[in-house]
Symmetry: C2
């Protein structure tokens, strides 16, 4: 109880917020279905049991917390939109897609969303959003499920269509359309379709909190998109593959859940990454594991989960990041036995507090019941003003209050920096702030570009070598783009 109390004290800020005690409860009894929650309330860092839960039931529940039972996916069931291998469904679907008169051609980001949807990362979504889902996402960052409960959904997962094609589809009264890749190969069928207006300005304003030009996702996937959106139920012909040598890392939520169960994980803590891992990140991850063990979990498993979809031009590309992550594991910075590295197939919005909810929600569906959140998650510089686009604290604040994420334990972390006295990355201690060195993204990049070494203990040598190689591989003229904070998670 004492160690639990110490750990839970870390949640005190969250626990003090209305409606958050359920979240804390999950820390105690991992992943219970809502009907089975033994609600524990935390007050004065003391573990109590809420009125309405019998003491026996609560104790029973606490007693079995180490039995592997993963957090329930949103909506209660993990969505799987890929046609089954058996029974000829794939062949039939492929034939239908080839014959359907209307075909929607996917862009790069669209295909990534098909991947995301097909594996249930966005459970309970069954396909691209219809108008009701789109509106709820924009206004409430949450969607009411069939059972009346809210599930979190903060970024629109939508497919656009141009006006000419919209007219043609509507003139035919079509209810099913084929979804094809850039070379017209059938990928999926979208059924029970609904076409509605794509108000780009409103979508951008409500998702990013700005309409300034230069937002990477907007330029990649919205500006030139069609003026209509088409929603519907998606049936995907076969699992989405990229054949880029990284598919073995692309574990679906179902595969991740299997892996966590195989390892008898009794807690899963996810760490969203879109940058190289330095020892500050590693410190956070190992420290979290230590705290979970202290709390009584027997086998907490870490999911360092690099984002695999679209990123902006000056982020380190996925293939290099994966090489770097491999080194980090090889060199023992993270313990491979309690770590599952996998790729999260979503594209990146850089939408800060709005997007971090999506990052967290998707990981619930993959079985994570703890989510580590840092400073300015999914943030970037304002595209036209000399400031960060989002307040550095808003991401974790919004995450801790978001509807539909009550079941997830949010783990805000303190800032890590290079301790010049101890010559290692450590949690920043403001009482001796002059001892600490903040190695910014720009600084890290400049060092790597100049083949200089960072201070000892900043990053494992093999990982650093990968970074140097990456910057070596770039043409020199690329220099002027604005890389920001590869140091942040």
């Amino acid at each position: 109880m004492a160690t639990q109390a110490a750990f839970l004290a870390g949640f005190s800020q969250l626990a003090a917020q209305p409606g958050r005690d359920r979240a804390v409860a999950v820390a105690v009894a991992p992943a219970p279905g809502p009907a089975r929650v033994a609600v524990a309330a935390v007050g004065s860092a003391k573990l109590g049991v809420k009125a309405g839960t019998s003491r026996t039931a609560a104790v029973a529940r606490l007693g079995v917390r180490c039995r592997a039972s993963l957090i329930e996916p949103d909506g209660g069931r993990l969505v799987d939109l890929v046609a089954p291998e058996e029974g000829g469904r794939r062949a039939a679907l492929r034939r239908e897609a080839a014959e359907l008169p209307h075909r929607l051609r996917l862009g790069r980001v669209d295909k990534e969303w098909v991947h995301v949807l097909s594996e249930g990362w966005a459970s309970p979504l069954q396909g691209f959003m219809r108008d009701d889902e789109f509106l709820q996402t924009l206004h409430f960052n949450a969607i009411r499920g069939q059972d009346g409960r809210m599930v979190n959904m903060s970024v629109p997962i939508v497919l656009s269509v141009g006006d000419a094609q919209r007219r043609a589809i509507q003139a035919d009264g079509a209810t099913r359309v084929a979804v094809v890749d850039e070379r017209d190969r059938p990928i999926a069928v979208l059924s029970d379709i609904e076409i509605y207006k794509h108000n780009k300005e409103e979508r951008i304003a409500r998702t990013w909190g700005t309409t300034a030009p230069g937002l990477p996702y907007v330029e990649e996937a919205i500006t030139n998109a069609g003026d209509w959106l088409i929603g519907g139920d998606l049936e995907v012909i076969e699992p989405i593959k990229y054949n880029d040598g990284l598919d073995q890392y692309r574990l679906s939520p179902a595969q991740l859940r299997e892996e966590f169960a195989r390892r008898n994980a009794d807690a899963v803590f996810a760490f969203q990454l879109r940058n190289p891992v330095h020892n500050g990140h590693a410190l956070l991850m190992t420290d979290t594991r230590k705290r979970l063990l202290e709390m009584g979990y027997k086998n907490p498993v870490l999911l360092p989960h690099p984002l695999g979809g679209f990123t902006k031009a000056d982020d380190v590309p996925l293939s290099w990041r994966m090489k770097q992550h491999e080194k980090v594991l090889e060199e023992g910075v993270l313990n491979p036995e309690s770590t599952v590295v996998a790729i999260f197939p979503s594209p990146m919005h850089y939408a800060g507090p709005t997007e971090v909810q999506w990052h967290a929600k998707a990981r619930i569906n993959a079985g994570a019941n703890f989510y580590i959140v840092g400073r300015d998650p999914a943030g970037m510089s304002h595209p036209t003003e000399k400031r960060d686009l989002y307040d550095a604290d808003h991401g974790k604040k919004v995450l801790s209050m978001a509807p539909g994420l009550e079941r997830l334990n949010i783990l805000p972390f303190k800032v890590a920096a290079y301790d010049t006295k101890q010559k290692k990355m450590d949690f920043f201690d403001p009482s001796r702030k002059d001892d600490f060195l903040f190695i910014s993204g720009t600084k890290m990049r400049t060092l790597a570009k100049n083949r200089e070494s960072p201070p000892d203990g900043f990053m494992c040598p093999g990982g650093w070598k990968v970074l140097v190689e990456y910057y070596d591989s770039l043409v020199p003229s690329e220099g002027s783009s604005k890389l920001r904070e590869p140091i942040a998670a």
Copy 2:
């Protein structure tokens, strides 16, 4: 049962949405507290009782539906921030406000918000929003209350402060500040204050879904506001008065509830207005009452509730609208016995689907359990593009799905237009669309300005005369401003 079914069929669209059956239930059993709800489910226009509610309990509940019991305010208790008249509290507060070293001077809109907050229209808000409330409003259009439940809150109710004053307050470590009017007269004390950044761009983008220049509320209350926001608990010295001859119409939610109880209202249906009432509006209101009577309500009371705070320059001013509304009542267009006309003191955002939630939520606090919503509520033309800012259907869609408004019955209405065959305003019948004349705001204005008469039956003669007088009172040079849709609610 048959008439109930007929009425409820009108809700079928809403009832079919997940989580909406609770809303329909309120139509049957007005204003029960959550613990006492006899939940009725509507399927195939048939009234049933949900599993979990004993038949006896449900029947008992249905049986007493005509006993006056108004819908519970958000948070369970109507907030009242005005110091009590007795006990010397007002004098003490006035003294304190006069002596406090820091005084925040209210602008026109700020004062309207103090009025709104003081009377509990925004229950359970206890004052200007702190950062957590502001963030939840922007991201979720809802705030989690102390009891963990979500209450709707879609527009920020915030007070700004400039940088110099912010520094001074923080340097002093002040926790209480005085709130004064434009002539430095003490209005209130704000306590337990929290100062946080006012990111105007993000606030505007997330509230309006655009950042285009020319949004009336933004120009009035945000552009020149301070770069910081100050939240806290508000204690108001005495009821806010305007001394403009209209204060008798400014009934607080508590006064409205008293009035509804005095009239033994068993249903209250609110109609948000910011324009003159024409016979199309009147038709909607009387038709709604008819339907409520058919359903079995004995005494449904109508609340035509003109907005009294800031409106854009080309809207008809409050004083003229009130004159017009008086004529409408005098000439018997609406039945005074079942109608309570009052002023809603909020300023207008013109933020469409975001704002309509606020309009509805505030009326719950005033005792309304039915809310009539029209085409493009709180909408306006895009300030820089040649189109409406919002999709005309989004307001009612968003309203019907909004978190925290599940208890409110949303009554979407069909478009009313002038039937040239019957020479009266009637619901538009698309099967004989050529018989109908849509009298746009511009057209109505042109007629009134030219002292011409609208077609017979468009508006009661006395009401029309008020409009003509209003336009006569304007200086001729005002002509070029863009009046839009005074015809819409």
